[in-house]
């Protein structure tokens, strides 16, 4: 089954979000004092601490963020490889991030502009839109080749694109596709969420 554009876009946007995160780290490392003054941990402002402990706090904060970004990049890789669990985790992460942004915007009146967090919020929403699309869902939930069979079946075989081997309607559709003159598929078979 051909990888749909939605999955590629979703994965690419996740990579873009990682890049924006690393850019933030680099900027923070270049101006450590300025950055330290903007954060508050447990009511303690690292900006008011002495040099050595402030640096330690910075390294821990930025290190943890960098580690999270690396894990996120790995997740993007698994999404691109078409793993459904990775897609679900990525969507859950985007959802939580959007909800947190919205609550802060709604309750505390935190402004969301291009100069603050609009870009990362937009990325989260675009990632969620791409990965929740029907094409990305059908691709991530496609039937996989079992280990005892050749890893890659015929790309245009009748089982291709069929997300569920037991739904007679989909078998009919798949068989009729197999009989048709083949053209590369776009979007795959539309699945009916209601039946599963």
């Amino acid at each position: 089954m051909k990888k749909p554009q939605a999955t590629v876009y979703g994965g690419a946007l996740m990579c873009l979000r990682t890049i924006s995160g690393f850019t933030f780290i680099v900027v923070a490392m270049l101006n450590p004092r300025q950055f330290a003054q903007t954060i508050v941990l447990d009511g303690v402002e690292p900006g008011s601490l002495d040099g050595a402990s402030a640096n330690l706090v910075l390294v821990i904060v930025l290190g943890a963020y960098a580690l999270a970004l690396v894990l996120y990049l790995l997740l993007a890789l698994f999404v691109l490889l078409g793993h459904n669990w990775a897609r679900i985790v990525a969507m859950a992460f985007a959802t939580v991030s959007i909800i947190v942004s919205f609550v802060r915007y709604w309750n505390s009146g935190v402004e969301i502009t291009l100069r603050t967090t609009l870009l990362s919020l937009a990325l989260d929403i675009l990632i969620l839109l791409a990965l929740s699309s029907t094409a990305a869902r059908v691709y991530a939930r496609r039937p996989r080749a079992r280990p005892d069979r050749p890893a890659d079946g015929p790309a245009d075989g009748p089982g291709d694109g069929r997300a569920d081997n037991t739904d007679p309607a989909q078998i009919v559709a798949a068989e009729s596709r197999a009989g048709a003159l083949k053209r590369p598929e776009r979007g795959g078979l539309r699945k009916r969420g209601r039946t599963r």
């Binding site: 679900i88 009729s176 969420g193 599963r196």
Partner: protein, 310 residues
Amino acid sequence: MADTASQVRSHVAGPVKVHSPRQPRSVNAILDTFFFVFAGVASVWLAILIFWESFDWGWWAIVFALAFWLVLAYLVLPRLHRILTHMYVPDYFIGRTRTSDGLLGDPVNLAFLGSGEQLHTAMTAAGWALADDISFTSGWRMVTSVISRRSYDEAPVSPLMLFGRVQDFAYQQEVEDNPSRRHHVRFWRCPEDWMLPGGHRADWLAAATFDRAVGFSLFTLQVTHKIDEDIDIERDHIIATLRASRVPTRVVVIRDFSTGYHSRNGGGDTIRTDGDLPVVDLRRVRMPGDPEPLTPVPMDEPPVVVRGVL
């Protein structure tokens, strides 16, 4: 599609439940539905944020207005239509195709009998060009040809859905070397042993419309082709080109297959039809290697008109 299959089953084996007991709604499916709808809601918020942002940037507001339209037309409205049409548009055969957003698209107004090869042979002989698949390259070439008014004979056509899937292929004829005006027809292979309502047999169904200009879709605000209102002219044009070519065709017109109606297609353009469905029999089209027929094949038999089931 699933509904059609279950109706068939219920006809032969008594009533069956639409939801098979072996397939309860999985956590996966519930999560998918939630994320699908939540993404739609979140995209509305994004559009609003971009709209407000445009006020802070002076002349750059034009860029934000463009971004706002892009988000609205290509993300928000398609997703909202997708959620709503999933609930209210029937997913079995009603003689209409559906757009990828689930909206009712061009009507099915032609049927064919014959193999895929015979169909390709006949359409090529009748002077039609196979449309390219939609891809980044073909899409870009389409956009540049429309803007520069350069000819693009095999321009791609947008995907429309029938039987729950995208068309198998499409044919088109450019008019006046201008890619924004063209005859075009999409083809879907019918499922095995599938019958038209009323019990007529068809191997292929097709939806033919004439693109008269490029404009904005009424429902999604996307840039799209606007179609000519009288879709029967396009249907009859295809029959005429096939009959004028040197391939043997037999046409049976199912009169009042659907009652005549007027409606709108997926881009919001009005459509009008008398509801007749011609079934074009191409089974006598000779392929290379086929034996010579014993009796000469009559080339231009008059169309047979039949009525739907009374």
